[in-house]
Amino acid sequence: MPATAATAATALPADPMVPVPYRITRVARELSDTFTVDLVPARGKAPFRFAPGQFNMLYVYGVGEVPISISGDPADGARVRHTIRAVGTVTDALRRLKKGAMVGLRGPFGTPWPLDLTEGCDVLIIGGGVGLAPLRPAIYEVLNNRDRYGKVCLFYGARTPDDILFRGELEKWRGRFDMFVDVTVDRATGRWAGPVGVVTQLIRRGGFDAYHACALVCGPEVMMRFAVPTLNEIGVANDRIFVSMERNMKCAVGFCGHCQFGGAFVCKDGPVFRYDTISKLFNVREL
């Protein structure tokens, strides 16, 4: 029931500050530093509902807790899927966990990609690096309801060909006749024959109707900083651009103050923001 997935997902957990035990049912290596884990509740079989773009707080026993975007299909209530890049103590510890291990989960938290608003529009999905992970549930949702949207374009940039996330799926999506997929790398290695350069260069090539397009953007802040002016240039207005922000988070419920971005708490007012609501702050350094 993909249609209800997005709306039902906003139901909040019982005590949002206390982690619920989940068990790892599958670990898959994606890249040298990136992996995907599937989780199911350790007790009970209540389906996990979330909306594309939301995140969970994952706790490793005795190590700590980090915010991680959900990277799975919102229509799949049976398991919770996260794709994680090991960049610190907790994510390193997560990488060492094996099938059967337990983690704590709090969530889902945050605002989703506005897939109901984008209905009828051409959908531009623009990702950089591991930023493709929080976009993947949106891609699933759009493809699950393909007839509700216009053109669907995915533009993805990675550092090198070896850093291309979800390569198999990208190839599969690229093979579809109802989706445009283009991938670029910062630095070509090996037998890479595709585009080289920043992801913004790809945006002009989708053949979409910019005046009836909505863009979902997730990646390093610097990449988003370049993507927005390019989108503006070709005619996508700021109120049709949505970006996913990242900040330090401890509580995910708006109490700890760490994720503040101007007047917004990224944990509950974000992570997905309509760009015109934050455009004044987006280019202020060290905010």
């Binding site: 949002p16 206390v18 005795g62 890049r85 610190g88 337990m102 330090n248 760490h258 503040q260 905010l287």
Partner: protein
Amino acid sequence: MSAKQKSESAARVVPADGLDALIRALARAGYTTIGPRVEDGAVTYRPVGSAADLPLDMVDEQGGGTYRLRASKGAGYFAHVVGPHSWKRYLYPPRQLMWRASRARSGFAVEAPEPAADKLAFIGVRACELRAMEIQDRVFDNGQFTDPGYRARRAAALVVAVNCGRAGDTCFCVSAGGGPRVEDGYDILLTEFPGKDHTFLVQAGSARGARVVKALRGGRDAGEADLRAAQRRTDAAAKAMGRELAGDAPQVLRENLEHPHWQRVAERCLNCANCTMVCPTCFCSTVEDVTALDGSHAERWRTWDSCFTTDFSYIHGGAIRRGGAARYRQWITHKLASWHEQFGTSGCTGCGRCITWCPVGIDITEEVRALAARGGRK
């Protein structure tokens, strides 16, 4: 106060020893009474057993980066203003256990403590501090999430407020909208009339407050003249206030995010986080995961944190706010501007603690003025 409230509320004028009777009555009613005490040369909020524990005839001299207590004969019990403590340390303790986990068969089990709310009676809550509580009420019930511990403690706490008869040297509650007159939100309100005929006007603001006030012996029912005298006390304090927060502070800050003045503040600011620790509304926290050496138990503690640390904004790759200028900007912009967007109110009550307890005397009111005056505003 509505007419109905007035009719059911008691207002009495009692001799000074009525304060002691009040504290003892609260203790008998099962409250742990917390009030101002002199500790290490400053007035702090600690358990008090009787009026004798209060700082009788003590006055504080405060300024940017200075605080001194001195004796002042006949000044009364509440002649001091606010010290380094605020009531947030009782409603939102500096260190709280969030949950415990213990290693179990093939995993772990998590157990969260029930929110315990001891019956606390706060004695001597100023108008600015009541305002701070109302502000934190909004923080910990933000429309999406509620902090059950905070809510329980707040509901259990009995507030004995006191009208300020004197303005502190760093106070600016009049311009910040925090006082000095207590308007509502109290169970019992005291106005002290020090001097030879040392008395208190005691007013009840709630049913549980009225029960305590009605039981007070001695003294007399208060009349209009007593209420007018109380008004004169707070009017005098308001008039004596030396500092002022600019009314357009939110706009000044929002429009000057890239102002060169931030660098000049950063040259003075030590990033010590004192201002955030003494602020009665600052609410930022971090979590600390503690694990037993043998791994059998783990605990999560929530502790006060400050936006002045570099760690505060850390995400993989480094801190977002690397420089002191960005951190000071975050603090003051949040307090005076973003707070409005987040909670529909300023985060500042004008208590002046951040000025007094800043080791280099950075003055929040002056910084706003400097940003406005340096031509950054269009």
